[in-house]
C-alpha cells in the first residue's frame, strides 16, 4: 500500500507551527457526568480550556457528539444516558460514538466496576480511563498529554485510513480519497465542497458522516496553526 502514496497529498504531511496553547484553545472537550462536582469544570475553564459540560446525553443533544462538535469526550458510564438513547448507560453509546465519529478521543470517567462484557466494550471503543475522584492538578496533565500526543496530522491520517479500510474500500481508492481530501484542505475549501467531493467516492451516508467528522476535527486542529 505504501507505494500507492507516492506523489499523493497526505494529511500527515500537512504540518504547521503552532503553540500548545493555540491548539489547547481549539480542542473542544465535552464532559458528561450526572454530577457536575465530579469534574473540575471551572478550573479547566479558568485555565483556558475549551470545555463544555452536560449532565446527560439525550436524543436532543446526542447529534452534537455524533456530528463531530467535540474532539475529546470525557464520559461517565452510569446515569448519563436517557433511556431512549441507551439501555446500558455510557457503555452502550461508546461503539456508536466511535463508529460515527472515529476521530473523537473518548476518556471513560468512572469509579464503577463493570461486567466482563462492558469491560470488552470499553476496551474496544474507548481510548483510556480516568478514575474518580479527580483534582484539576491530576487530570489537567492527562488532558494535556492527550492534546500533545493525539492531536497531530499523523493520527488523523491513520484514523482516516483505518476507517476507510474498515469499510472494505480498496487501497487505491483509500489513497485517492485521502489525496482529494488533503488537496481540498490545503486549498482551504469549505466543508460543503469537501463533502460533495467525497460523496462520489463513498456511497453509504454513515460513511460520509464519519469521514466528514474526521475531516472536520482535523481542520479544526489544523486551523490552529493558520496565521
Amino acid at each position: 500500500m505504501f507505494g500507492l502514496f507516492e506523489n499523493k497529498c497526505r494529511i500527515e504531511d500537512l504540518k504547521f507551527d503552532s503553540t500548545f496553547d493555540q491548539i489547547k484553545k481549539r480542542i473542544r472537550i465535552l464532559v458528561v457526568d450526572d454530577d457536575k462536582s465530579h469534574f473540575p469544570i471551572k478550573a479547566f475553564k479558568d485555565n483556558n480550556y475549551n470545555i463544555d459540560y452536560w449532565s446527560k446525553i439525550t436524543s436532543e443533544n446526542m447529534h452534537r457528539i455524533v456530528d463531530g462538535d467535540y474532539d475529546i469526550l470525557i464520559l461517565d458510564m452510569h446515569g448519563v444516558a436517557s433511556k431512549d438513547v441507551s439501555s446500558n448507560g455510557g457503555v452502550g453509546l461508546l461503539k456508536y460514538f466511535k463508529q460515527s465519529n472515529p476521530a473523537i478521543y473518548i476518556l471513560v470517567f468512572s469509579n464503577y466496576e463493570f461486567s466482563i462484557n462492558d469491560c470488552k466494550e470499553i476496551q474496544q471503543y474507548s481510548d483510556d480511563m480516568l478514575q474518580k475522584p479527580v483534582e484539576y492538578v491530576t487530570c489537567s496533565p492527562v488532558v494535556d498529554s492527550i492534546i500533545k500526543d493525539k492531536f497531530n496530522a499523523k493520527r488523523f491520517s491513520d484514523i482516516l485510513i483505518d476507517y476507510l479500510q474498515s469499510t472494505g474500500m480498496t487501497n487505491k481508492d483509500i489513497v485517492n480519497t485521502e489525496n482529494d481530501i488533503c488537496k481540498n484542505i490545503k486549498k482551504g475549501q469549505s466543508h460543503e465542497i469537501i463533502r460533495t467531493n467525497i460523496k462520489s467516492k463513498l456511497l453509504k451516508p454513515e460513511t460520509i458522516t464519519a469521514v466528514m467528522n474526521i475531516v472536520t476535527a482535523f481542520i479544526n486542529y489544523y486551523s490552529a496553526g493558520l496565521k
Partner: protein, 343 residues
C-alpha cells in the same frame, strides 16, 4: 467463600486462628499470657472438634470450617468463663457455617451495599475537592502550580489531604474489580516526578510526627506504566510514615541504572522477621510488633501495591538492616525497594 470467611473473622468476638493468621476479634477476650506466649501450642491442633489445654491452662477449641481448614479459637480461660463461652463459640461457628452456605448470596448483597455507600461518598468528596480548588484558584499566580505554592500553609495542607484522600478512594474500584486495571493504557511515567509529588503531599502528615521525607535522585527515565502505578509509591511512603519512629528521616531514592529505574524507601522502625516477609504482602494481613504475630487488619496497602507490581512484572522486596532492639523488640532500617526493568 474463603475471602468472605476471612472478612467475617475480622469481626469475631473471640480471638482465633485461621490459616496461620491471628484474628484478634472486636473484643479482645484473649488473656494476657497469650500475647507473650511463644509455645504456639494452640496451633498444633490438627483435628476438628478438639479441645486442647495449654501449659498456661488456657483452652483452644477447633472446628472444621472448610473441607480441610481448621478454625481455632484460643486463649480461653478454663474456669466457668469457658463453660459459659463454649455455647457462644458453638453458636458462632454454626452461624459461620450457615453464613458460608449462603455466602454467594450474602456476598452479592454486601457488595451491593458497599458499592452504594462508596458511590455516595464520591460526590461528597468531589464537592470538598471542588471547593478546595476554588480556594486555591483565589491565590496569586500565573498558573495553578504557582497558585498552590502561593497559598497559605493551611490551605496547602488541606488540599494535600484532599488529594491523598482521593488517591486512597481511587484504589477501591480496582480492589473490587481488578480486571479494570487492564482497561487503562500504559504511558510514559516520570517516576521521579511522581514520587516527588507524593513526598510533597505527605510532607504535612509526616511533620505531625516530626518526620522528614528526603528524596534523592535523579531519575530521568519514564518507563511505560499504567496510571495505577502511582499507588505503589503512595502506599510505600504512607507506610513508612505510619510505621517509622518519631523524629526520624525517611529516605526515598529514585535513580536510573542503565535503562532501569530503582526505587528505594528506608525508614527506622520495628522490623518484620524473615519468615513473614512474603506474608506482609497478603490481603488483610498486618504484622504486629507488640505480639510479633501476623494479625488481621485492613492490610490493603501492601497487598494492592504488590498486585500492581505483579501486573507490571516486577517485585517489591522487603529487607532490613538490624539496629538492635527497642523495648526488647528488634528494630532496624526497613527497606522496601523495586526495580522497574527497561522496556
Amino acid at each position: 467463600m474463603i475471602k468472605l470467611l476471612k472478612e467475617l473473622l475480622r469481626f469475631t468476638p473471640f480471638p482465633c486462628i485461621y490459616e496461620e493468621i491471628i484474628y484478634k476479634g472486636i473484643v479482645d477476650t484473649s488473656v494476657s499470657p497469650c500475647r507473650s506466649c511463644k509455645s504456639h501450642i494452640c496451633r498444633t491442633i490438627e483435628n476438628a472438634n478438639t479441645i486442647e489445654v495449654c501449659h498456661k491452662g488456657l483452652i483452644s477449641y477447633s472446628q472444621l470450617v472448610t473441607e480441610s481448614e481448621l478454625l481455632i479459637f484460643y486463649g480461653i480461660r478454663q474456669d466457668m468463663f469457658y463453660t459459659k463461652r463454649r455455647a457462644e463459640i458453638t453458636s458462632l461457628i454454626n452461624n459461620i457455617t450457615m453464613f458460608l452456605t449462603n455466602a454467594e448470596e450474602i456476598e452479592k448483597e454486601n457488595f451491593k451495599e458497599f458499592r452504594a455507600t462508596y458511590h455516595d461518598v464520591i460526590p461528597a468528596v468531589s464537592v470538598v475537592t471542588r471547593n478546595a480548588e476554588l480556594l486555591i484558584g483565589k491565590s496569586t499566580g500565573v498558573n495553578y502550580t504557582e497558585k498552590i505554592e502561593n497559598s497559605s500553609r493551611e490551605l496547602r495542607d488541606l488540599f494535600a489531604s484532599v488529594r491523598l484522600l482521593n488517591k486512597r478512594l481511587s484504589m477501591i474500584p480496582y480492589l473490587l474489580n481488578p480486571e479494570k486495571i487492564i482497561l487503562t493504557k500504559s504511558q510514559p511515567t516520570p517516576i521521579y516526578k511522581i514520587v516527588d509529588k507524593y513526598v510533597k503531599l505527605f510532607e504535612g502528615y509526616a511533620l505531625q510526627d516530626r518526620k522528614r521525607i528526603l528524596l534523592k535522585g535523579p531519575s530521568h527515565n519514564s518507563p511505560y506504566l499504567k496510571p495505577i502505578f502511582e499507588l505503589i509509591p503512595f502506599v510505600l511512603i504512607e507506610n513508612a510514615i505510619k510505621y517509622s519512629f518519631s523524629e526520624q528521616d525517611i529516605n526515598v531514592q529514585v535513580v536510573d541504572s542503565n535503562n532501569n529505574v530503582i526505587f528505594r524507601i528506608e525508614s527506622l522502625g520495628y522490623t518484620v522477621p524473615e519468615d513473614h516477609h512474603k506474608t506482609i504482602f497478603e490481603k488483610n494481613v498486618r504484622y504486629e510488633h507488640n505480639s510479633e504475630e501476623l494479625t488481621s487488619g485492613s492490610g490493603l496497602g501492601l497487598h494492592f501495591a504488590n498486585m500492581i507490581a505483579e501486573i507490571h512484572k516486577f517485585n517489591i522486596n522487603y529487607s532490613y538492616i538490624s539496629k538492635g532492639t527497642k523495648d526488647s523488640k528488634p528494630i532496624g532500617l526497613n527497606l522496601f525497594e523495586f526495580t522497574i526493568p527497561a522496556q
